[in-house]
Amino acid sequence: MREGGLMADSANEERLVHELQRELERELDRPLDDAELQRIKELVRAQLEAELRAKQRRSEREKEQEEYFVRFSLNVCLQHLVLAIGVILLTITGLPIKFHDSAWAEFIFRHIWSLEINRIIHRVGASLLMFVTVWHIGWLMTREGRRELRELLPRVKDLWDFIANVKFMLGLSSERPKFGRYSYSEKFEYWALVWGTAVMVPSGLMLWFHRIALAYLPKYIFDVALQAHSGEALLAILALITWHMYHAHLNPEVFPMNMTIFTGKISKKRMIEEHPLEYEQIMRERAEAERP
């Protein structure tokens, strides 16, 4: 196809040169000399080559978008979406309570929304987080969930991958470690989220339903819960705006935003680069499936 295109182009080139030559001769009313003819030929060739390159780039991009793998199911994408909305609501209403002394918190509470509204929004966010937690636990029971959980379990390989990756980044080794379906950084973030939810949800529920909890729990448990809620919240937010922001947004590979978690799709190119072991496995499985 490409060969044909090139041949067609060389024919095209001669035709274009002839046309230009005829036109110029008619206008100047004299035959063109060799140098002038040569110049026209060069210009036409450069123009055609540029057009060809642009066309190739376009087709490559199209191909890249065309050849994709489904990385996340719709279920997973929706879980992430609900979680993200919940966490954003919790963050924007939790931070001004934690930093109630600051001028910006005061500005928010006095001019944007009242503390009463803040409390309601925080509890809406908390409900979304708890809802998605229950949803996720239910999903982990399904075939898909069990398979994903197996992939997410930390392994010794993750530690070696981490060390190898650091070496690679420092230039001590020339080869990048090959990641499977989930790299160590993705696993780390998943388990950090599990840990964070395990701290935030019980402590938050205790504070939310303190009227009931007061009947059963001593005061110091509330104090500990409040402090843990506050401390873990800040840790989680800092992790989100460094680790998550970098891996999902600011990283040059995906900048400005990695859309995989919203569309569920990942391009073949990124699949090969970021999850080579998974790619190889999928290819093997496909080959086996195609074999009679």
Partner: protein, 354 residues
């Protein structure tokens, strides 16, 4: 003979002078000699009912106004004896801001007019106090003078002359007890209620409006020197402001607890006193005012804790754990990101060079 008579008059007047505490040359003598200096000088205001018009000049001469003339205040008296009853005078005729004569004045006397007392007085409440009820009439003394009714040690008694029940409650409290033991830095009525700008607690200008209570207590209870002298913890107010109750109050949820919700007000007692609402065994009832399920559990744990303070016990350790974890993790994240960017840059450059 004439000389003898003159001598006799001088002697009499000298004798009178020594007896009467004012000299013939005192310009006020004209008011006192015939009328207001006599202890039985009175006026019949109703049949059989008399009002004393006697002025104790000895006391007047020890007052802050000792150098003033009677007519400095009673300005409508132009002839002696006066023909009409002089008009009621008011302290504000001199004690207003901007008086060039220089009557010592702050904005406070003006504020009296808007206070609960001033409002009641303006409404014509016969029990409402005017300046003279606290400061007296002719024997006004400086607040620093131990004989003044507005001297710190005398303030509760002065207010108590009308607010008798509150006075007895106050005398039982830690503040009242301390004052009775001559600890003058103990809180008296005016420390919390203020003296002239005394508003009802639902008025945002009041020192005892829910949003102002903590700051009012803080005037002493956040003062390290006073609290150290008295052996009272000093961080209570700060800890309160950081608590949920404090944050809620600060941003307008007025039903949230403030200091007096738990500590009571006129009869504040030590937590070691079984009558106190903050005595450990009473805490369930005290917290129960707002939190109906509160039981003896609320007494298990420290109160007024600041997480960053080692006194907070286990909460301090949770705080420290998260402080270090957050610092280490965040530093690690940032370090990793920088490393990752560096690695990508290195390989991109090498790639570009073939």
């Amino acid at each position: 003979m004439r000389q003898l008579l003159a001598l006799g008059m001088v002697l009499i007047s000298l004798g009178l002078g020594s007896e009467l505490s004012y000299g013939q040359r005192d310009p006020n003598a004209r008011c006192l000699l015939e009328c207001h200096g006599k202890s039985d000088f009175k006026r019949e205001v109703a049949p059989g009912q008399f009002k004393s018009l006697y002025v104790n000049y000895e006391q007047f001469k020890t007052s802050v106004h000792k150098d003033k003339l009677c007519i400095d205040c009673h300005t409508d008296v132009t002839a002696i004896p006066h023909q009409r009853r002089p008009e009621q005078i008011h302290c504000l005729q001199c004690h207003y801001q901007g008086n060039v004569v220089g009557a010592p004045v702050s904005e406070r006397p003006e504020k009296y007019k808007e206070s609960v007392h001033g409002n009641a007085f303006a409404r014509g409440d016969p029990n409402a106090p005017d300046c003279k009820h606290c400061h007296t009439v002719h024997s006004v003394r400086a607040p620093t003078d131990p004989l003044s009714p507005v001297y710190r040690a005398n303030i509760p008694k002065t207010c108590g002359s009308c607010h008798i029940e509150i006075y007895t409650e106050y005398l039982e409290s830690v503040h009242g007890q301390a004052l009775r033991n001559n600890i003058l830095e103990s809180a008296v009525c005016s420390d919390c209620h203020r003296e002239h700008d005394l508003f009802p607690p639902d008025d945002p200008r009041s020192s005892l409006h829910p949003q102002n209570v903590a700051n009012t207590c803080a005037r002493c209870h956040a003062d390290v020197k006073i609290m150290e002298r008295r052996g009272v913890p000093v961080k209570q107010v700060e800890a309160f402001k950081r608590s949920f109750h404090g944050i809620a109050i600060e941003f307008g949820i007025l039903r949230s607890a403030n200091c007096i919700s738990c500590h009571d007000y006129h009869n504040i007692l030590s937590s070691r006193d079984p009558r106190s609402p903050i005595y450990p065994l009473n805490l369930a009832t005290t917290c129960g005012q707002c939190h109906p399920n509160a039981g003896q559990n609320v007494a298990r744990g420290r109160f007024h804790i600041i997480p960053s303070d080692p006194d907070a016990g286990i909460v301090f350790w949770v705080y420290e754990f998260y402080r270090w974890l957050t610092m280490v993790m965040t530093a690690g994240f940032i370090f990793y990101i920088v490393l990752d960017l560096y690695g990508r840059w290195r390989h991109a450059r090498r790639g570009a060079h073939g």
